[in-house]
Structure formats: C-alpha cells, structure tokens
C-alpha cells in the first residue's frame, strides 16, 4: 500500500529544512549562473555570428543551453550522491531500513521538497528575468509547454533512479572513485546537457540514443525549442517512459540486493 501522507510529510519536512540552509541555496545558484555564462559564451563563439548551424538557429541553441542549465539546477538540488554513499559507509542507512517506509521513495519525496524550495526561491526568479531580458525563443503553444513540463519531470525521475541505484553500489564496492567519474562523464555528455545530440558525430549520437541519459536533458530541451515536434514528441516521451520503467526496475533490484546484504551482515 502506498501511504501517500507519510511520503508527503517527508517532502514538507525537507522543504522546511532547505529554508534553514539558505547559504546553500545562494551558493548553488552562484555556480549555476557561472556555468550558464560559460556554456552561453562557448555557444555564442561556436556560432560565430552565424544565424544557424546544422539547421538550428542561434536563438534556439541559446535557449537550449538556458533551459538545460535551469534543468540541471533542478536536478542538482536533491540529496547529493555522496550523502547517500556516506550513509552507506557509516552504516547510518541501517537505521532507515528499520523504519516503516521505503528508503528509495523516502529520498525521492524528500528531493521533491528541497527541489521545490530551490525552484521557487532561486531558480524561477532568475530564469524568468533571463527569459525577459535575453532574446530567447519561447513556445507559444500551451501543449508544447505541457509536453516540456512532463518530459522534464520524467527526466528528473530517470536521473533520480540512475543516481540512487549508483549511490547504492557503495554497498558492494568500497571504493567507487573511478566508476563514479565515468558515471558523471556519461551523465554530462551523453545526456546532451551541454552539447545537443544533433551536433554529435553520427556513431556517438546513435550510441547515445540507445541509452537512458538522453531522457534527462536532451528530450525536454529539444521539445522546448521545437527541435522535437509533432508526432516525434510522443515517440520521445514514449522512449522516456520506457527508460523510467527500466531504471526504476533496476533501482528496485539494486535496492533489494543491497538491503539483503545488510540483513546478512547483521547491519
């Protein structure tokens, strides 16, 4: 039975907790802006005054980057990976196993709370101002907005499942150093967060299209700027839904194995 009120409480609590750590909010926003400046400048120089490249206008490309930075702000506001790993290493996670809730869901709802706080206090004001002052393309059709919001939300869930499953690998590996860096690299490049897949070399683009990472940034961004349009929107969201199911099953499997391991070791 899914106890809706229990998990809702986690979301509320972490919303309130975020309000206490205001310095964190400002520092995160600061580095988000610096990375926006960096990628905005890079793409401005890459286009070098051209109106369009590879069939995509400069305005659309700049919008892609701004939306992508917004989404990475959203995706980065949850429980950080190292915090989960630290809980596993110190054994604190065993306390949570004893309690009457599902740990992966508990963290997901806690993330909803902190992400929502960060969105309304920092991200939304900043990005509304950016869209107001910068020459960016905004979809007119409310259905596009709806598709974008839905795709962004599914992307958030895919990212959560992958990252959480990855964090739980600490149960099996003492040192995750090297694997972790491969993971972060795949996450940033293959998700299309800074370079859209259409600028990839052909073989790499088709490689990326067989992986779940594209669902995190590439699909919502491309829907927003209209590179994915018409019926393609449905196929893309279908791909995302497929991956959210697969990554969720993967997370459940890892979680089951991990919690069994704790029981065997006696915590």
């Amino acid at each position: 039975m899914f106890n809706y009120r229990l998990y809702w409480t986690f979301a509320k609590k972490s919303f309130l907790r975020s309000a206490v750590y205001r310095f964190d909010v400002w520092s995160r926003l600061g580095s988000n802006v610096i990375f926006l400046l960096m990628w905005g400048s890079i793409w401005t120089v890459l286009y070098a005054g051209r109106e369009e490249a590879g069939g995509v206008s400069f305005q659309a490309m700049l919008t892609y980057i701004v939306v992508s930075q917004f989404l990475s702000g959203v995706n980065g506001a949850g429980t950080p990976l190292w915090e989960i790993q630290e809980k596993v290493r110190t054994g604190d996670i065993s306390l949570e196993l004893m309690r009457p809730f599902d740990v992966p869901l508990r963290y997901l709802f806690a993330d909803f709370g902190s992400v929502f706080f960060y969105m309304i206090t920092a991200l939304m004001p900043l990005y509304i101002i950016l869209f107001f002052f910068m020459d960016l393309s905004i979809p007119n059709d409310p259905l596009i907005w709806l598709a974008f919001l839905f795709a962004a939300f599914i992307g958030f869930l895919i990212r959560y499942c992958i990252e959480m499953a990855f964090g739980l690998l600490t149960f099996f590996l003492v040192e995750t150093g090297g694997v972790e860096d491969i993971f972060y690299f795949a996450m940033s490049l293959l998700s299309g967060s800074v370079i859209p897949l259409w600028f990839f070399p052909g073989w790499l683009a088709s490689f990326a299209s067989y992986l779940p990472f594209q669902g995190i940034y590439y699909i919502p961004n491309a829907i927003f700027i209209g590179e994915i349009a018409g019926n393609q929107i449905f196929t893309s969201i279908g791909i995302q839904l497929f991956w959210v199911v697969v990554t969720y099953i993967f997370l459940r499997l890892v979680w089951k194995k991990a919690s069994q391991k704790v029981v065997v070791q006696g915590g």
Binding site: M38, S41, I42, V174, G177, D181, I182, F185, F200
Partner: protein
C-alpha cells in the same frame, strides 16, 4: 638556519603523510583512475563540441588541449601542496585546529605540511601525455627558453591556485565555512579557465585577469607559447605569470594570518 630547519621538517612531515596514504593501495589507485577519467571526459567533450564547428573562436582542438593541460599540470602540484586547505572548516569546527597553534612552528607552515596528497599522479600522466601529443600535432618548437617559460608559468599557476585555496580556507576563520566556498568560487573558476578566456565577455576576462587572476594560470602563458592573440590585453602579458603568482600568494598568506589572529582572539 630557521629556513633550512623548516625544509627538513617539511619533508619529514610529508614522508609520514605519504606512508599513511599508501596504506590504502586500492583506494589510491582508484583515485588516480578516477582523475584520469574525468580529465579525459573534459577532453572528449571538447572534441565532440568541435566535431562540427572545428574551431572555438580562433582556437582549434589541439590548442584547447594544450591550454587545458597547463591548467591540469599546475592543478596537480596544487593538490599536492594545498588541496587540504579547503577543509580547514572541519578542523576548526572539531577543535582539532588548535593543535597547530600549540607547537613551536609557524601554524601556516604546519597546516600546509600536514598533508601531501600524492594521488595527483593522474594529473601528471594526463598532462604529460597531452603535451607530447599536442606538441607533435601543432609542431611546437621546444627551445630551452620555451621550456623554462612553461616551467615558470606552471609555478605561477600553482601559486595563484594555491593562493586562492588559502584565501578560501581563511574564510573559515570568520565564517566557519570553507568547503562550501571552494565549491562556489574555486570549482567554477577552474572550469571557466578550461576554455580560452577570449570567449567570455570583456568584464569576465578583466575579472579573471586582475581580480581572481586565473587567466595567468593557463590562458596568458598558453597564448605566448602558441602565439595566440589576446584581445584587450598586451600580447606579452603571459610573461608576468610567475610574478602575479608570487604577489597573489603573499597577499593570500597575509589574509590567512589576519584570519588566524582573529581566530585566536575569539578564544573558541
């Protein structure tokens, strides 16, 4: 000779630190693999980015790799000497910082010699490999003057980045926070300088040259060696890297000492 005594002491403290780190060989090895992967990741991202566009402004892929490798090399030395400064806040909060104050040596020196992070082999392997590869591709003429200049520029880069780490750690004396400042200031600043500064708005370039002088870590020296134009700046500005490093580090040292005197007076 106080100075000689300090050098001798530094190596003794450092040797103890290295022995401690080599206790965990697998973790040590994995950290090096991890660093190599993440630098290779940035290089691959640059390659994918330039696959269709060929050039970022006037910089091609190999020139950008060269720029990146200089930053990585000096960051490698910086990790060895200064990386642990960012966690000064933990020492202050736990009260373990006080042990640096009760010994008859300079606390700054003692804190610096406390750790010697040998895991930066990853940085050295990566940057040396890139230097060899890029030198062949770009046909860089390595004269003795060039090599000496690169060497001096790397020392400058170590002092600039180390200086910023020292300033960040000094914040902990006032605010009991330093690790967080590292992620707000140092991490984005290092990422910005992975790409040639010329791509940024004039204000940002100016800021990175004269306020947080990260331009002197790699962009200005690389421009001198590769013969690149540096709009808004004199073309010989790269030669000032070592000097900027020394001045910046001295300022950082005095800020740290100022913070320390404040820390003492609170008596916490």
């Amino acid at each position: 000779m106080a100075f000689m005594r300090y050098i001798d002491l530094y190596f003794k403290l450092v040797a103890a630190g290295i022995r401690a780190q080599l206790q965990y060989r697998f973790a040590f090895f994995m950290r090096i693999v991890g660093m190599l992967t993440s630098y290779a990741g940035t290089a691959i991202t640059m390659w994918v980015m330039l696959y269709q566009f060929q050039e970022l402004g006037t910089w091609n892929f190999y020139e950008m790799l060269f720029l990146f490798a200089i930053a990585v090399l000096s960051w490698g030395f910086c990790i060895i000497l200064f990386f642990h400064f960012r966690s000064l806040d933990t020492y202050i909060l736990n009260g373990t910082f006080d042990r640096f104050l009760v010994r008859p040596i300079n606390p700054f020196f003692h804190f610096m010699a406390m750790k010697f992070d040998v895991a930066s082999f990853g940085q050295f392997i990566f940057s040396i490999f890139i230097f060899i590869w890029v030198s062949a591709e770009l046909q860089i003429h390595w004269t003795i003057a060039n090599v000496l200049f690169l060497f001096a520029a790397v020392i400058g880069g170590v002092l600039i980045q180390g200086g910023l780490l020292v300033i960040i750690s000094a914040f902990a004396f006032w605010t009991t926070k330093s690790e967080q400042f590292y992620w707000v200031v140092m991490y984005p600043a290092r990422n910005l300088t992975n790409y040639p500064l010329v791509i940024y708005p004039k204000m940002v370039q100016w800021f990175m040259a004269f306020v947080v002088p990260f331009g002197f870590v790699n962009y200005f020296p690389a421009s001198v060696i590769l013969g690149k134009e540096t709009p808004y700046f004199s073309e010989n500005i790269g030669y000032f890297s070592p000097l900027v490093g020394i001045v910046f580090f001295i300022i950082a040292y005095y800020i740290w000492m100022l913070g320390l005197s404040r820390y003492k007076s609170t008596g916490s």
